[in-house]
Subunit: 242 residues, 2 copies
Amino acid sequence: MTIVLKPIRPKKISEEIVEQIKGLISNGDLKPGDRVPSERELASMLGVSRPSVREAIMVLSAMGFLEARQGGGTFVRALTETSIMDPLAKLVEKKDPELLRSLVEVRMGLESWSAFLAAQRADDDDLAELRRIYAVMEKQAARGGWDSTVDAEFHYAITAASHNSLQMHVLDSIHSIFHATIQVALMEFYQEEGHIQKLLTHHREIMEAIAAHEPELARQKMMEHLALVEDKMAQLLNDKDK
Amino acid sequence: MTIVLKPIRPKKISEEIVEQIKGLISNGDLKPGDRVPSERELASMLGVSRPSVREAIMVLSAMGFLEARQGGGTFVRALTETSIMDPLAKLVEKKDPELLRSLVEVRMGLESWSAFLAAQRADDDDLAELRRIYAVMEKQAARGGWDSTVDAEFHYAITAASHNSLQMHVLDSIHSIFHATIQVALMEFYQEEGHIQKLLTHHREIMEAIAAHEPELARQKMMEHLALVEDKMAQLLNDKDK
DNA sequence: ACTCGTAATTTGGTATGACCAATTTTCTAA
DNA sequence: TTAGAAAATTGGTCATACCAAATTACGAGT
């Protein structure tokens, strides 16, 4: 039997202060716009040194709860002002080309694996859902349009068909970052003449491979599809560099 | 026309440090588990005072990028540990067989993808590292032993050879959960007579495929290897059910 | 009495140095 | 070779001083 005991973490003073102030904010003693006591005051109130208070304020600022203005004071910020982004998203937000490439690549690996699994396990319900979404896609494509929302739905349905909750969760996280960063930029490429038909063909082939329960084929088709996406993104990045 | 000019914010030097370190993490110079230079070192490197460095580290810790241990040092955390894995790790804690199966499966997808990428990009340094670890593995196997730590090292080196920092972080998170749950339980199977030689062969084949820069072969060999692991785990779960 | 500019005060930002506590490493003795 | 102790390393906390920006208070000029 494996004994798993959680590591004891000595609580740092600054963390304790963070908790307290966060408590004051959450229960309404400190409202947005309020000015929190100065660092020196807080330090003497809490009976700790100023650096400790300062570290706590730093953390709270990084979390978006407080905002410090030199000479002015420290104020409580409205929580809606700052969208609390996931650590991953925060890392990618600066649009480093190398990172975006990594992101698309990771997605490629996960999605092709989803397609593989889906081709092994998709039941009638899964296939019906895929066909429904594809029909919508086809109709829009006939009018020369391409809705990235429907596109995302399609890919999500595939992962759902993998019947693996963890895979769904992980891929969903990657997906959300993908949408928040490059999806929009890729839209113009999607709209280009000829691309829509190619995309439609890709999705149909993927769907058919899954329906035929051919894992390797499904994986390969998904790879081809996402390779195109990666290629487009590479072009986009190169244009920017110029 | 609404003129939106962003208020000029005097950049604090701690924020500058945060940016720099975040950059090092995102482009892979700092990998999960790596040890960051000590506060005093960083301070002298950057030409700033220690409190400034300290505040930066505080912020990064609060964001989940770093983890500081008193007396030990400051280490890079896998990015997905908090955003994706926290809820997941709790789910897997209860050892739901279905979830464990999912975990191994996700790992299989990610690892085979890593092997694929590694076979495309591994340079001489990567290959040298792989060969070094394999040599250790071989020596231990000759004495009838199998060290799961070295095993993990091998797989980690493969992901490192993929030269994709995001892939490294995602897989590292999955790995940590894997170790916390079933790795230990699988040990007894590893130790069985005949298995060690088979495992050794698997790793050698994977390594050779990567060295030969044959992505598809590397992927396939990795799949075969992890399929064995999955098989063993299935046996283990069935035994428990009885 | 009001306005405006300037000086004094307040407040956050940075730096230095010191000491403590936990950890890791190194060394030593059995 | 190994186990335990000493030393070095590293994060955690504190005290203090000074700088820079913002606020406030004050006083001269209208």
